[in-house]
């Protein structure tokens, strides 16, 4: 009886490990780069600049940012994205203006200035790099 339990436990562990190994660990963003080497060996990808913007993948998707944002800064006091995307500047800079929803507070009241909930642009909008998806995607953009 004792022997059987031993065999069973060993068997159980072996099978758990083999399942984990065969399931294939998802490729990671680091690729084969060892964790202890920091950023060494990781190719730097530049942010994409796409003229005319990146098309939405679904309705109400926050549009992605078609340019780098490394020079921009968003703090409580200031938001350099607004140099181009605010209502006052958008036309002059030929940039898309922030949406009307950005002026609504959580109770649906329209404010004169962008609502604090929408102040931190890159909570929803993200710049893109030219990187292939790690796993195959069969998602079709919905219109």
């Amino acid at each position: 009886m004792k022997k059987m339990i031993q065999v069973l436990t060993v068997g159980m562990f072996v099978s758990i490990f083999s399942v984990a190994a065969s399931a294939g660990i998802q490729p990671s963003l680091r690729g084969d780069n060892p964790l202890d080497k920091g950023e060494q060996g990781i190719a730097v990808k530049k942010p994409l600049t796409v003229k005319g913007g990146i098309e939405r993948s679904f309705k109400k998707q926050p549009p992605m940012i078609p340019h780098g944002i490394e020079k921009d800064r968003i703090t409580l006091k200031g938001n350099t994205c607004m140099k181009c995307h605010s209502a006052e500047n958008a036309k002059k800079e030929k940039a898309p203006e922030i949406g009307e929803s950005h002026y609504l507070d959580r109770d649906g009241n329209k404010l004169a200035k962008p609502s604090s909930r929408r102040w931190f642009c890159n909570q929803c909008h993200a710049p893109q790099v030219d990187a292939q998806p790690l796993v195959e995607l069969d998602y079709q953009p919905q219109k």
């Binding site: 003229k51 800064r73 200031g78």
Partner: protein, 202 residues
Amino acid sequence: MLKKIFSGTIIIGILLGIALWGGFNWTLELTNTEKFCISCHEMEDNVYQELQETVHWSNRTGVRATCPDCHVPKEWIHKIVRKIRASNELFHKLMGTIDTPEKFENYRLTMAMSEWKRMKSTNSRECRNCHNFGSMNLEKQEERSAERHDPHVFEVLDGKEPSKTCIDCHKGIAHHLPEGWEEAVKNDPMLKVEDEPAEEQK
């Protein structure tokens, strides 16, 4: 005898002159270093940290602009004028006008405005120690930048004064922008920028 005294005085005079003038310029140049600027915590804790986030600190080509490159004129006479005006900054250092982060923030707009006005009044002279419309290659620039620089590059090529100066558009490129800067600039008769006549042909 008299001749000896005379020539001796001249030699001593020349030596003294070299020592004093050299010493003066040497000291002046010492105050023109980044090390000197950030020896005050007001500069080191605020603006110096902000500079390190920007393209003037680290970039593709490895050229760096430090404090005096933008804030102290290179030409001697303008440098002396700026140095004399800096005595006001010494006074405020003694008064502790900006000696806490809160005080610095409250004062940031005032300081930024005065620096913007200084740059505007000199046609962005310190920017132009490195940057010039005449040496810009529009093809190498991002499309959007090229579009904005284009009229001015051609103004310069045509031998005209550019209708805008660097600081008109490039504010807050090395330090954080103060709260309410846009309104402040718009309401300032000197800093206000006339928008180009809308070119809506396209």
